[in-house]
């Protein structure tokens, strides 16, 4: 159980992750699951920047993550899984049965999304996908920082 948090956040690695969750949970490895970032060296360089030196950052495509997620969970290194897209999270959950909890940290306005919470905007299709995960027994809740209250999926989607 060394995947200590699986987070959905379209800002990917930012202050709430580095100063908030990483410190709070004692995370030692961040795996960024995103097809575009995986194939883009300068973006990888950018996202590695804000992370303290004693924490490793790895980049995976969604397919690679589906293959490796079982190993990450078996590994003793405390790991934070981070994805920016709802469909990536869905494939990650449905491709394996390792991830039972999703933390929605921030999905922002744009491309037909409507507001669900102060920091969560979803299209109808994305809301439907998250509800489907919930029906499959995955606990989906929204919480931006460790000190905030957690809002379960049924309250906002």
């Amino acid at each position: 159980m060394s995947i200590v948090l699986t987070r959905l956040d379209d800002r990917l690695i930012h202050g709430q992750v580095v100063v908030g969750w990483v410190q709070h949970l004692g995370v030692k490895r961040i795996v960024l699951v995103d097809d575009e970032v995986r194939s883009n060296a300068w973006e990888q360089e950018l996202y590695t920047l804000g992370v303290p030196g004693d924490i490793t950052v790895e980049f995976a495509s969604v397919d690679e993550a589906v293959q490796a997620v079982r190993d990450w969970n078996a590994d003793p290194t405390r790991t934070l899984l981070l994805a920016g897209r709802v469909d990536a999270i869905v494939r990650l959950c449905e491709g394996t049965d390792v991830i039972r909890k999703i933390n929605v940290g921030g999905l922002h306005e744009g491309s037909g999304r409507t507001q669900r919470l102060a920091f969560v905007y979803l299209t109808g299709e994305e809301a439907e996908q998250l509800r489907r995960l919930h029906d499959q027994g995955v606990e989906v809740s929204a919480q931006d920082v460790p000190t905030a209250n957690r809002a379960p999926l049924k309250d906002w989607a």
Partner: protein
């Protein structure tokens, strides 16, 4: 209403604008906001004392990624206005309490402004998405205007509360005032400690914090 209180309104509004909208020069830090308010009222020691205590509370806040936070700056101005001229140890606790209440209210008033800004953006979404410069400037300046109104309203409200607490009941007749002073100093020291521990987490930095605490304790007891 003396001229000092007029200057306090101006100072409180500047402090509150500094928190988010204008500059973030950290005028809004309670140590600065409270001390300057104390100077305006001719009692820098009282203002600085309540400012320093509220500063401890403010160390509990990390303003990361657009989350909400209490308006401790205006809180410190209100606390300084409560404490100025009141008998030292008696006034401090009640004054800091007043500041905490104002800071807490400030957090919620900020939410109202952000909702109004959001509604404004939605009303003009088409022009904004078309990159129409006059609309961009207008929406932006209206947001600034809302925050100015918020700052003035919060400051006037906070100072009204401070004036009421300052005069009635007389602070030295409040039973438990000394106890409140003890409690807010303790709670402030606890808030700062917990805040730093949360910010540094489980990294080596926690050892530096521990080292600092030991040095500070030894120094304090050696006096």
């Amino acid at each position: 209403m003396t001229p000092e209180w007029g200057w306090l309104v101006v100072w409180g509004a500047i402090v509150s604008l500094d928190l988010v909208s204008v500059g973030q020069f950290m005028l809004a830090r309670p140590l600065v906001a409270g001390t300057v308010a104390g100077v305006i009222l001719g009692d820098p020691l009282a203002g600085g004392t309540v400012g320093a205590i509220l500063e401890l509370f403010a160390l509990d806040v990390l303003p990361i990624g657009g989350v909400r936070y209490p308006d401790y700056g205006v809180g410190a101005v209100a606390a300084a206005a409560t404490a100025a001229g009141a008998p030292g140890a008696l006034g401090t606790g009640i004054a800091v309490c007043t500041g905490l209440v104002v800071a807490y209210v400030g957090e919620w008033v900020m939410l109202v402004v952000r909702q109004a800004n959001t509604a404004d953006v939605r009303r003009h979404r088409e022009a904004l998405d078309a990159g129409h410069p006059p609309t961009i400037a207008a929406v932006h300046v209206r947001g600034l205007g809302r925050d100015l109104v918020r700052s003035v309203v919060l400051t006037v409200g906070g100072l009204a509360l401070a004036a009421a607490v300052h005069r009635w009941p007389p602070v030295d007749e409040v039973r438990g005032a000394v106890l409140v002073g003890i409690v807010v100093i303790g709670a402030g020291l606890g808030a700062a400690t917990a805040g730093v521990l949360r910010a540094v987490g489980q990294t080596v930095t926690v050892r530096w914090f521990g080292l600092g605490l030991i040095v500070g304790v030894i120094w304090t007891f050696s006096q």
